[in-house]
Symmetry: D2
Subunit: 346 residues, 4 copies
């Protein structure tokens, strides 16, 4: 049994990790932390865990945690993560960090969008944990930067086209929509039920969302050249799910059938990427609670553009599920262990 700690268990990502790990046959959760709620049973914070998790939330003391856990999930805000991850690494633990702190290859880029990095030396060691693109490196890593939710969806949606050089890399538009759990569990007026329900809005319009540099970093690597995209996130009145509608200009003439075949080949053997049949497009409703990324696309001959639609559950493939997938790879477990659950519909 792998002894696992969930550091930062009082947010939606934390409880989702606990939900998924509960059905993982090779994992025992030995430690859960929360600065705000230390001393309380985790099942009091999240009654879904009642009679299943009996742990008491602890304070975040890395050395004490490292005594009891060999594998650490850090589900902390950015900055808080890099304050403790180096200790875990130094103590020989393996870590999947769900914050933004270890997703960037270049400390300057991190600093430009966040703040000065506290452990820039770890960035070159950390692997960007998108298994479908970097499975081998993840298997060797002791530190994985778990991708953001918007980036996971956007990158999986674009990878085959960019890799094949089929689209103009400088003309990509990602119009993305997220459920409210993406905003976290902080007590803010703007996240109240009555502020979110029965309304729809854009936010961070004009290329100012922090997931943008992360997406561009990975897309640039795929394209083999630096690229700049338009990215607009939106808030959907639903709990879970991200759907990205992606517009790209085709370099030459390609049919929908041809591009779908390319996607199917690219993602051949991937259990968690489902390329949909021609004429079908994803809904977040069909991936809710599962680790799947569903992708559909069509060529619009009138405009010479391809429109790709990709959907994930932001808390699963966009966070906790992908983190467990990375843990499985890092430990040589079957990649789908604990992640076989089907989406909950309705």
């Amino acid at each position: 049994m792998l002894h696992v700690a969930v550091v930062g268990a009082s947010g939606y990502t934390g409880v989702e990790l606990l939900r998924i790990l509960h059905s993982h046959p090779q994992v025992a959760v030995t430690c859960v932390t929360s600065e705000q709620s230390a001393g309380k049973p985790v099942a009091e914070l999240f009654p879904t865990l009642r009679n299943r998790y009996h742990q008491i939330l602890e304070n975040l003391e890395p050395v004490r945690i490292a005594d009891r856990a060999d594998f650490i999930f850090t589900a902390l805000p950015h900055k808080a993560a890099m304050e403790v991850v180096p200790t875990f690494i130094r103590l020989g633990k393996r870590v999947v960090d769900l914050s933004a702190d270890y997703r960037f290859h270049d400390p300057a880029l991190y600093e430009a969008w966040y703040e000065p990095h506290l452990s820039p030396e770890l960035l070159s060691r950390a692997v960007y944990g998108l298994p479908e693109l970097r499975r081998e490196k993840i298997a060797q890593a002791d530190l994985v930067g778990n991708p953001g939710c918007y980036p996971t969806c956007s990158i999986l949606g674009l990878a085959p086209l960019l890799k094949q050089g089929i689209i103009h890399p400088e003309r990509i538009i990602v119009d993305a929509k997220s459920g409210a759990s993406g905003a976290g569990r902080g007590a803010k007026v703007e996240n109240l039920y009555c502020e979110v329900n029965d309304g729809f809005k854009a936010y961070a319009v004009g290329g100012v969302h922090r997931h943008l540099p992360e997406i561009e970093q990975e897309l640039s690597l795929l394209a083999g050249q630096p690229l700049t995209i338009s990215f607009t996130p939106h808030l959907v009145p639903m709990d879970r799910g991200i759907l990205a509608t992606i517009y790209a200009d085709l370099k030459g003439s390609h049919s929908t059938t041809e591009l779908l075949a390319l996607y199917r080949e690219f993602y051949c053997g991937e259990e968690f990427v489902r390329v949909l049949p021609e004429g079908s497009f994803p809904s977040t409703a069909y991936v809710k609670g599962s680790n799947c990324c569903d992708i559909g696309l069509t060529v619009d001959r009138r405009t010479g553009r391809v429109v790709i639609v990709a959907a994930i559950d932001n808390l699963v493939k966009g966070a906790a599920g992908q983190a467990v997938q990375n843990m499985n790879i890092m430990n040589g477990f079957p990649e789908n262990q604990g992640l076989e659950g089907l989406a909950l519909f309705p």
Copy 2:
């Protein structure tokens, strides 16, 4: 491996059965039927099943199904169920029927609320499948009438008090609230998104809902005397969940603490009934997707009444999950197999 057929797989209960059975280690689904959608892949009807279920929906031909399955779930409308269940029984199959057709002990009662019964001789053989009350009989049965969603929640909420004779059996009020999936997947104007969203209503007011005689049948058995209750169902703008708020007059003086202790003892060892701590009350949000029934209660000294609040997921403990629990018992499998998944929150 137990070969299982899901008869009537095009409704919400059917797809929920498929979701749950997918993670059951001792089950292989060999046959799925749907009169309306025969010939289509089941994953086309429910894209959550894509790449996981490859079956084609078949017509409902009992003999052909019995060739390939040893255990049958009938998830059909009432009447449609009793048209085929006798054939399955005659062919030596075991059946969990999710309709109302085998829930009543008295054919006259069924006829009064539904229509004349087509196989009244099977009613005495059928077991009302509430495992927490009839585990032993279920284990011996070849035909189980799987309880309705409202009845499951109401009966589990009241059983300890009635069994102990602590409340006046003639003064029970069950005010119950259900999510929209309880209304099924039929294309009716009243079930459209815009008719249900952001509104709340009562329906079947005044003791006319068909789950009422089912509840009264079981409560009467528990009380050891015939009883009549008030029951009002309501429609909540949410997908899943039933919450019953139950009012009963205490015969003598009892404290909340004492009654909670009674519940804890009554449900001791039951994995799927969680009696909450004093001062805590259930939410459907904490059982969504799980097979749990959460129960809280309090004594209101001002009125001499006890108020019990019970919550389930109507599609799981109220339908498909309980059906699988019954299947496990009937086959000697661990009772929680396939049902260990935690609730999805948020």
Copy 3:
């Protein structure tokens, strides 16, 4: 033109007052206050008001407000209201207070459920502002305690029966359900979208909600004797609306038709109470945004109980709309001025 101040304009009740007053032909809003957001345009806080309201939110300085307004709505938390209302009254202004501070006739009752009252001498002068029951007194009052949302719905639902002595006053159960706006606009985790959406729960179970004594006070007056009821509020995942399902034991034998006739007579001429036809029951969806209270009922002969279902929009008839109705009566305006808007459906 009546010069009106809205004191406490940063909550949902405040913005609803502004929405309604905007279409009132005899009112000019001259002053809006908010301690938290003083200095900001009210339209920045509530973008629905853009280009329609140009006022800047002010601090709550009663004397300065009284200089510019003749009629005051105080939409403050309890206690905050009684800190300023006496000043307005002393300065000769008329006030509708939307808090609980002037709803009780007996200071001891207020103190038992809230805290010591700061101006108990005003309580006998204040009128409980339910126009359908106290229109004449309201017309004479300079201080009206605007009823709570649950009480409005519960009292209107029960008044005809209690007044006629048709039901046992000691056996009333009010099972009430409210949308999330009833919880206010405070930044609390429990009111976040992801905590409320797609779930349903009871709260303040066991007779501990502060609207209970208010309901009992008014029902006792109607019954002509003190009475005690069971009252359980619930939270519905919707923005607006309260629906109360009320159970009462009939003293003798009465038909549904007879009781509906009684209701129709009792509420004859009332524009804002709609007694539904036999067999019809209300939905909050049909009163959303309107000042109506819809009432349906049925006699359940099996149990000898009558079940009454009443629905209002908690922010309109349960708060701001009723406050404007009271203002109209106090000023001799047509009672429906500003309140003629139909419910928004869907």
Copy 4:
């Protein structure tokens, strides 16, 4: 008083017309029709209208309707509209048609996307009823084709930029999102609550939605040259609202401030278009129930694109409200009569 008929009153657009017309001081609704529900009181179909509308739904007999009404709203499906509109026009009535039948200037375009036109001779006489762009022609018209919901939002969002020639007309992307009322009130499985709630999806991907040619027709006129756009509609789990996120390539260098000033000038004096301050973007929540179109924009210097976000209530400015606005213009009434209601929030 203008005598008005609402032809096709059983859909969401029909009931919204009735809601709005109810508060119009110069209108009397003399006739409401519905083929499906003829003979029923309209208030039985839509209980929001109870005690306010007493009309009985009639069959659609144009000559009989014309006897009692001088102004006709046809809220019918396409084709059904052009089967009766010519009769109304022949009888000297003025008509606002809310279907697609009189929105196109070229019958061939209508035929390409819909079917052969039954009264192509009326197309040149019909005015495309977007008041902000064609107020004078509407004032003279006896037949107005009321714009579609997506087109209203998209065209208002782009008009100033296209008119000024500031953007490349051939590189426009409109990513649009609509609430579920846009799908109408037909009883279809895909529009059920459980199919729509808590999910988000794209539909009609790849330039196949029928509102596309309508948008292109009007944008081409504004640009002074034919143009082709990418347009993807999405379904949001909410009742009302459309939000369009629009991407366009700037020809030269322009600041956000400059473009906002351009919009403010372009829409100067328009009561129903609100250009938001820099840094603010619309939400459908802030226009729900009102006739406003809110517009925000920003220049993204990294990509050289402008991103415009526009929001309307699809049933008001996108249908019934705009129809009443057109009626007001055609009759010389104040343009905002009946349309002054503020948005309902929350």
